[in-house]
Symmetry: C2
Subunit: 204 residues, 2 copies
């Protein structure tokens, strides 16, 4: 307690957490994921590195906390990528709709997308997140050509779905039943992940 | 000239245009397309209704000007909807990529999407635009069930494509050749427009 009053901050108080997350966002945006260390973030936030580890575990946990994404978002991906590869699109879209259709988990995800639309620092965080957390896992799980292009195509459909359904809210997609949305969008995601992307759209 | 100095505004000056467009955006956002009249916009902008018609033609022209979209955007849609229906997805995606890949036409479109992400007034304008300008034309041109859902699904893919390719700029979709993007995305748009949307994603 005496040491806490000396520094003006108690370990675990929200001021320290906010300072750490603010420093982490700035550091990840400037240095990317690889160029950022827990130690440098702690220094910038004026706290001990042990406190950062105490709050957020590894650099990975710090990164996810800085993004303010629901914790299970990336944790769920490996399990989704397992199992019947032909139903992967359906599993992914069902899981993603569950996230964006629930108010509790929708907020941080939409906030990240909205921030990335207007702020280059947030856009860089989203790029790092997609590249490291999503694309790398898809590459590891699927034996397909052009896995990076496939992952970003999936991203384009899922980001657009969140925007039309929950931000701009254009009817009838905005209020369509989740099962109808899955039936419509899952084949798109499935084809992006495992289909032939070079086939001409026309038969001629 | 004497009358111009009396009102402090010359017909045709950019001040009048700005006042009219500002009043139009506010009116369309509050009243929607149907609830907005050229006369009410003129009154709110403190100009004569004839001046609004002189600048923007009909209410439709005023609405498009308020959105700041490239003029040929909706004009091109009927022609795109004509012709071989099985190549419709390819024509639409090729046309849309042409718009968003060219700096001159990308700006207003991205600005509208970005504004709609963070501003409810802009979101309402985009909803009105999509409903009246895009969905209605697709309904008129295609004999398919659920044309409104199909149009919003297409919108979700195209909006997401613009965001990943040009706003958040996630590699490799951000720098992929237009032909590769068309090959990847056109079948999605084609299926949304004319395919079976109720088919289960899995074969089981």
């Amino acid at each position: 307690m005496a040491s806490a009053s000396r520094t003006g901050r108690r370990p675990g108080d929200s001021g320290s957490r906010e300072a750490i997350l603010g420093a982490a966002r700035a550091a990840f945006a400037v240095g990317g994921y690889e160029g950022t260390s827990v130690r440098a973030v702690a220094r910038a936030a004026d706290v001990d590195a042990a406190l950062v580890h105490h709050f957020y575990g590894t650099k990975h946990g710090l990164f996810l906390a800085a993004l303010e994404l629901p914790g299970d978002f990336t944790a769920a991906l490996p399990a989704l990528l397992e199992g019947d590869v032909e139903a992967l699109g359906e599993r992914l879209v069902t899981f993603y709709l569950g996230l964006i259709d629930a108010e509790a988990t929708r907020g941080p995800l939409l906030a990240l997308i909205q921030a990335a639309m207007t702020n280059e620092q947030a856009a860089e965080l989203l790029r790092v997140f997609v590249t490291r957390q999503v694309i790398s896992k898809i590459i590891a799980a699927l034996d397909v050509p052009q896995p990076e292009l496939r992952a970003t195509l999936v991203g384009s459909q899922l980001v657009g779905l969140a925007i039309v359904r929950h931000v701009v809210r254009v009817a009838p997609l905005a209020m369509a039943e989740a099962t109808a949305v899955v039936a419509a969008v899952a084949p798109t995601v499935q084809r992006y992940l495992t289909g032939d992307l070079t086939q001409a759209a026309t038969r001629g």
